[in-house]
Amino acid sequence: MSNPEPAPPTPGSLLSDPAVRVWDLPLRLTHWSFALLVPALWWSAENSEWALHKRFGVALFGLLVFRILWGFLGTRTARFSSFVKGPATIWGYLTGKVAHTIGHNPVGALSVLGLLTVMLVQVGAGLFAGDPYDGATGPLNPLVGVATADTLTQWHEWFYWVVLGFVALHLSAIAFYGIFKQNDLVSAMLSGTKTVKGEVEENDRVMWLRFVLCSGVAVGLALWIANGAPPLS
């Protein structure tokens, strides 16, 4: 994972590849891990594979922590400050008055926030879910009372439909951009690059020290939670 990306074209050079950097590698790995883990979590719950379900859930938790930290310390297109916009800009984008080049557009930003929030709520409830006398429990189940755990378990069950709704909206939007706007979002999320007409400021490079910091905190926090959040002193 040292530097798998080939050298990007130098802006303005002759014979340069028109593709520009859009999404950094950690962001893409996180994204596609979400795409695999959400169905895997559903499958493991449907099939009562609770050991797997818990492991996937902790992994999802760690990835969410990473993505949030990366939203402050990652490359430009990963940072919340670069894409989360106010209502005026969102409206301007919807009505075609605000141009958009690379990265999350102002409406897509809402989708990012929405998906991260619902996944976080779902994982958060799952950490406390279950009943120790009846099968699997989330790693933080002993920290709450029986009634609270029971309520959170019920939440965890129905809230899956909310997660599914957000995923469906996300996929519909991707299909919409692909079909009606000839904008292939999937390829860019796979390759990390995009062919853009005209001059654009491409995304900056990953600062790997920041990646180490964010992933270290995320893994540490996930492992601590997986062990029931024991006292640190």
Partner: protein, 167 residues
């Protein structure tokens, strides 16, 4: 670009599989192991609903004990429910309704292979819940708290021996 897509896909897949592999616990064989031999007998859903009701009454008891001043009358009432549900279990396990028949159930074949042990396991819950009623009516909170261990132990005993382990 194709090369990068493949390598990214491989990296994500490797990450996911390493997650799946790092736990060490072998995944249990689920109900999908065998094809169902016929339409699912209604008793399977009935007994699952009954176990859910048992769980609910036990949760009600434990919730009372977590508060500062447990309502022993509420505990007695929940224990009475639990005891009644526990006695229904005798009619809930006709032959041919195990997970081995391919149904969506966690009932192991051991239920019918060791009928005496299963009878004892059921009796343990009936007795433990009956004792809980008596203690709750007596109002001794400490004794009720100890009895939670006995009731929970009877749950666990049966789950350990007769229920498919999916944990």
């Amino acid at each position: 670009m194709a090369y990068k897509q493949v390598s990214l896909g491989a990296a994500v897949a490797a990450f996911t599989f390493s997650l799946a592999a790092c736990g060490g616990e072998a995944a249990t064989e689920g109900a999908s192991g065998a094809a169902a031999t016929g339409p699912e007998p209604a008793v399977i859903e009935e007994r699952q609903a009954n176990f859910k009701a048992i769980g609910k009454s036990f949760k009600a008891i434990r919730t009372q004990l977590e508060g500062g001043s447990p309502d022993t009358a509420a505990i007695a009432s929940a224990a009475t429910d639990m005891n009644a549900y526990a006695m229904l279990l005798d009619d809930h396990f006709p032959e041919g309704t195990s997970v081995d028949e391919g149904y969506d159930t966690e009932a192991l074949a051991a239920i019918w292979e060791k009928p005496d042990d299963f009878t004892d396991a059921k009796a343990r819950l009936v007795e433990a819940s009956a004792q809980m009623i008596t203690l709750a009516e007596g109002g001794d909170v400490a004794a009720i708290g100890d009895q939670v261990g006995a009731v929970g132990g009877s749950c666990k005993n049966c789950h350990d021996n007769f229920r498919l382990d999916t944990d």
